[in-house]
Assembly symmetry: C2
Homo-oligomer: 761 residues x 2
């Protein structure tokens, strides 16, 4: 489901460009491999060369066509058929394969009505027409129509208000213009936050309904030619998607924290906290245009205005709309495909590699482009195994169902197997949509060095250079001006910094609910996407605008395969702690700085009010309301966090020194040392969790990474402290600082344990 | 003609706002008045109170309606009629009044044809329809059609290329995408530079024709409701305007540097250097839409894309257009209205106050809103004179003709009377379009303190606070984040910093050709303009969207009147030198920093090329051309400029000290000292000129302020050095540094002379 706008709306001006294909050798063959002695590194390289040679783009294409041949959302026949097809493949490749089934709440639409009653009458079509150029777009009987899953039922009528992206600061702008959404229906544009935030914040402000539309500025002709001429969204295409309040918990709304097995104890639908409080419906920009055009009231702030050919007014009214939604509140089965290759030496250490297989409709890009890469990766790994190789550790390939409605398949599996996973899972590696372009990755910072080493060894299909080099070069060329130095430094040190993970794909239950180190990987940036969660995310679209030669699918297989093989085969798990300490140090600096910024903001705001600045400046022919006075931000005691970071940095430096001494010259650790070290390393991420979880959302236990309560997919690092500050809740921030500090210290002690193992004589 | 976009596109998000009208007393009555002893200040205040009381908004309204009743462009019957009407008013108010006539080249359209030949046929309407809601819009027979004055004749056919604003850096972006405009017709959008830059730069790059259109993003529905519902530009409205190469010289293209009198020696039209090299035509966004929609080729960079509902492609082609233009290359008369009130004590010191009276069509906002304020100001001053008051110095009120085509009336008058003006003119005070909102001013920094004092004493009609306070508050609220501290400091010190003047209105010949200290003043920011240079810039439009109560017209009269009265009556001319030294110091820091920036840019560019960054990153399915290597910027010797600034700062500090000592306690200077000081002060600005002028444009002699060679209206301070650097012409920059330094030193010596007068016993 990963919304990909952030990565793909690279400011085009920043693009500055080049001629001939480069001739550098992509894959240095003699660099050390983290976790392997020099001797073992040579073996591993030879293995990876055989793995690469086995990969075949034709398989990806063939599977993509098969899997996307029909709509395959949760509960559809093709969803089950795909799971069985993939399970058959895994079995044929030698995996111990099963389909694990859960029963989840999955609402589908019964009634969808959106009409404008005033100042003119208009009824929204809510339909995506078939296109002759897109051979699966006509499967109307099998398609889920445009809707947002986990919207509550509702029948509401009210004046319309345009709320931009519908995030909290947008309501501050409305308030300044004297506009209240209480009792009104809001219309928000997609992007600027995860979609589920929009109805949540609207309801908090008293709105009675929420419409979300795709503005051509973010998702239409402003981006490029629309489908089928180009790849971008046309005026009758819309974005389906979940609006469950996933920042509370992911997975089945009725079974928070436990697996949605047949006999699970379920919440009543009416009391499920992640279902929206108000009805919400997504529409196309074709349907949105008449509604927005009919709005009066003040002009929207300049950066709220999109690319429709109208003046963007805020309302409220005179547009008055009627929104009626009813859903079938049924339980549906989800089918997770789970394929195991048992480890020969350390079978109780699991490397889990997953991608989801359900789509909103035909879902070629999202998720099948990633799924078929994982399949090909698994096939090649299976071939290696058939030829006699055995991984040291157990490899688990997963094809998740029900990711789109809310990470259902992965969450229910993770919750069901929570105890085993906490004991056995080493790393979870996720992928999702994939296409032509640049490598990008987010994840646990203990894996940063490892990831950079892996992608140093994967050649870019278009360029010959390594995908590491290309990603680092792209960050220099496309990155924001204030991060140029950092991007150049990263390139010089050949290190791709991992993004911290928020949410939006299946890594969430593993990382943030169970404390398992996780990665999310993929390629993109050169595609024309534009059909996210529409009926046109199809095979026909993908082979024109996604990855026509499937060469970035193969690159993803090479990348995921290398990550998996090295993790499975390493003598010692390839974690490093210094990058984690650096990242956490940066996050602590950020929250300290945030407090200063909030203090300055309050001072400036209050000074402006004292100075009667607003009274002097405001246009008396318009309605303006002075913003409220802000309570001054106190000085908080960040010393516990700062001391914890200092301790962490000392611990990680000690570990690095001990590691360098113990492995000098590329020598292997004694087996017993390696074993004991692995035991410590594999569970180190667990130390970053607190059983109490985050304030008001105990399901999220990780203290470093969480999806933002008011951003959704967008990450909040050190969430317990950062979000308290953002809410100006000084008391909560004060309370949480020692908790988070204690967590960091606990992690430092795990690092110390690892150091002790290395230093023991 | 002043294009007002910069001031009026205030980021709407920055707007934060207030409730009740403020109750502060606006006009402090006991503050000292610069140039007046305490005793004389009281008299002056009493005079100004009588002046204020005489002002009547009804007059402005009545004159605006009369003067805008018909199109009144150069050569039209109503243009002459307006001049005679205004001359009659001035005479009736007691002024020695004459109409000074010049004969200037003023082309009008004979043939205008724009049609698309491929891929579909389309003929541009090039017409602005009459609107029932706008009573003068139907005067088709009297209207000049949409055209750009001083476009050359032409009949060209070629593929179309979209070039954004058409400034030099836009062509770098095109080059990176492998697009060459040679032999092509370019289409540029208005704004981003003065319009005359667009055909000039297009021709430099080999284009054969140029179309300029008004994009709704800058000038249409993106800004607000279009006329007649709101004030903004609709899809059939276009922007007339001059495209003469005014950065070379303003005024009649055939008589550079001399007055266009009947017997003046004239250039041949064919050899006039300010006429464009290629034909150029302005069109509406209604006419532009089919052309832009028909473009293929790569997508335009993201910040090139406007608000039309299309993907903005660059071309070249497949759109192929035929542009045919022929003009009547006639001489036309221009009628400057010149009204004098001779000074009683110092008649040879002239205060010149001007506004133009010609419009492109009915020109209610531009220029009559400013002209009627000047008329009312002059009427009230005339009343004072009739009642017995006499100014010490001579006051000259001017109503310029022919500003729109190229500052014709003011330039020819200034050139004709150059010797007298150099001897007698103290200050030139300009206004132009005026409307509801905030006071803004540009000008010679020797006048900065004076202007702040004047507007401290003018109450804002809407708010009661002084217009100084409101302007300073608006700069805090609307200013860019990186200038917040400066804006707050300015508010604390009650000083409105003057903008440096580029061009775009009638101050240019006075300031930049003759070295006369100048000001450009006006109100705005709360209007809905949107009809710049169209047939809808009408009385009907202005009274709905400009200044319905004419209260900001009265505010302008109060402001211009106070400036004029105080300058005319001051014992000592109210110039201060410290703000000038501060401004010049800042400009020198800027050019030093610019050199560093250019050096870093070259280093970064060349490092990227060396690192094969472009080759690694660029999408091989698109055309990308690596940017050219840049020659490294050498380290230049800025010491002469820095030493000159140090000398200037010492001189101005000495002057301030001497002034404070000589006037301590608000005492008057001895008459002889005042006389001698006035002699020095009034000509101090002349020291900032060099007779050789700027490189390649000797008409512009001022060494501190000039319109940019590649920006037009946009100012370039220290132009001889700054523009050489921007062109990476290190040799010329090196040559010009000592020249500019010597100019600054010469000015410092003038300041020293003034100090010597004050210090003489």
């Amino acid at each position: 489901m990963f919304g990909r706008l952030g990565r793909h709306l690279i400011p085009a001006l920043a693009l500055a460009l080049a001629g001939q294909a480069a001739a550098q050798a992509p894959v240095p063959s003699s660099e050390p491999l983290l976790g392997f002695s020099n001797d073992r590194a040579s073996e591993e390289r030879a293995l990876e060369a055989r793995f690469d040679a086995a990969l075949n783009a034709a398989n990806l294409r063939q599977w993509l066509q098969r899997l996307s041949a029909h709509p395959h959302h949760v509960g559809s026949p093709w969803d089950k058929s795909n799971a069985e097809f993939m399970a058959g493949l895994f079995r044929s490749w030698g995996y111990q394969t099963q389909i694990e089934q859960f029963k989840v709440l999955f609402p589908t639409p019964k009634v969808r009505l959106l009409e404008m009653e005033a100042p003119i009458r208009f009824k929204a079509s809510l339909a995506e027409p078939a296109l002759p150029e897109d051979s699966t777009s006509g499967q109307a009987a099998e398609q889920l129509p445009l809707y947002n899953a986990y919207s509550i039922d509702g029948d509401v009528t009210g004046e319309l208000v345009y709320v931009n992206f519908g995030v909290p600061k947008d309501y501050e702008e409305l308030q300044r213009r004297g506009i209240d959404v209480k009792g009104k229906i809001v219309i928000a544009r997609y992007y600027g936050s995860w979609r589920g935030i929009k109805p949540k914040v609207a309801a908090e402000h008293g709105a009675i309904g929420c419409i979300i539309y795709s503005d051509p500025h973010e998702d239409g002709y402003f981006q490029g030619d629309v489908y089928p001429k180009g790849g971008y969204r046309g005026d009758q295409s819309g974005q389906r998607g979940s609006v469950a309040d996933m920042p509370l918990y992911s997975g089945d709304p009725l079974t928070p924290g436990i697996g949605a097995t047949d006999d699970a104890r379920r919440l009543d639908v009416k009391s499920a906290p992640t279902i929206t409080k108000i009805p919400v419906l997504p529409i196309s920009y074709g349907d949105a245009l008449p509604l927005l055009k009919a709005l009066g009231g003040p002009m929207a702030p300049e950066d709220w205005r999109g690319s429709l050919p109208i003046p963007y007014h805020l309302g409220a009214g005179p547009a008055r709309v009627h929104l009626k939604l009813e859903f079938n509140w049924n339980l549906s089965p989800v089918y997770d495909v789970i394929a195991r290759l048992p480890g020969a030496e350390r079978p109780d250490e699991w490397i889990v590699r997953g991608n989801h297989h359900d789509g909103w409709v035909n879902g070629a890009m999202d998720p099948l482009s990633g799924m078929v890469a994982e399949l090909e990766e698994a096939r090649a790994v299976g071939e290696l195994a058939k030829a006699g190789w055995k991984p040291k550790r157990t490899i688990v390939y997963a094809g998740w169902d029900g990711e789109e409605p809310g990470l259902l398949g992965s969450t229910e599996w993770a919750e069901t197997h929570a105890a085993e996973l906490r004991d056995h899972a080493v790393v979870y590696i996720n992928s999702d949509s994939n296409s032509r372009g640049y490598f990008g990755a987010g994840g646990s910072h203990t894996l940063e060095t490892f990831v950079s080493q892996v992608i140093r060894d994967v050649p870019d299909p278009e360029k010959g250079v390594s995908v590491l080099d290309r990603a680092l070069a792209a960050n220099v060329l496309f990155g924001p001006p204030d991060q140029q130095q950092e991007a150049r430094d990263a390139r010089a040190s050949k290190t791709l910094h991992l993004e911290a993970l928020g949410s939006g794909s299946d890594f969430t239950p593993f990382l943030q609910h169970l404390g398992i180190a996780a990665l999310n990987i993929g390629y993109g940036g050169e595609e024309q996407y534009g059909q996210y969660h529409s009926i046109y995310d199809s095979f026909d679209h993908y082979v024109r605008f996604g990855d026509p030669k499937f060469e970035y699918g193969v690159a993803l297989a090479k990348t995921g395969g290398r990550l998996t093989l090295r993790l499975a085969d390493a003598d010692v798990l390839p974690l490093t702690f210094d990058p984690f300490a650096t990242a956490v140090g940066k996050y602590v600096e950020e929250v300290v700085k945030l407090t200063d910024t909030l203090r300055q903001e309050a001072e400036e705001r209050n000074r402006r009010l004292d100075d009667k600045l607003f009274q002097s400046v405001d246009d008396p022919t318009q309605t303006w309301v002075a913003p409220p006075r802000l309570d001054p931000a106190p000085y908080l005691n960040f010393a516990p966090l700062q001391n914890a970071v200092a301790a962490l940095k000392k611990s990680t430096a000690d570990y690095s020194k001990a590691w360098a001494a113990a492995t000098a010259g590329g020598k292997a650790l004694p087996a017993e040392t390696a074993n004991r070290l692995n035991e410590v390393l594999m569970k180190s991420e667990r130390a970053l969790t607190r059983p109490e979880g985050l304030p008001r959302r105990s399901w999220y236990v990780h203290q470093i990474y969480a999806p933002g309560f008011y951003t959704g997919y967008g990450v909040k690092t050190l969430p317990a402290v950062r979000e308290a500050l953002e809410q100006r809740n000084w008391k909560e921030a004060t309370d949480q600082i020692p908790n988070v500090a204690a967590t960091i210290e606990a992690f430092a002690r795990e690092v110390d344990k690892a150091t002790a193992v290395l230093s023991a004589k």
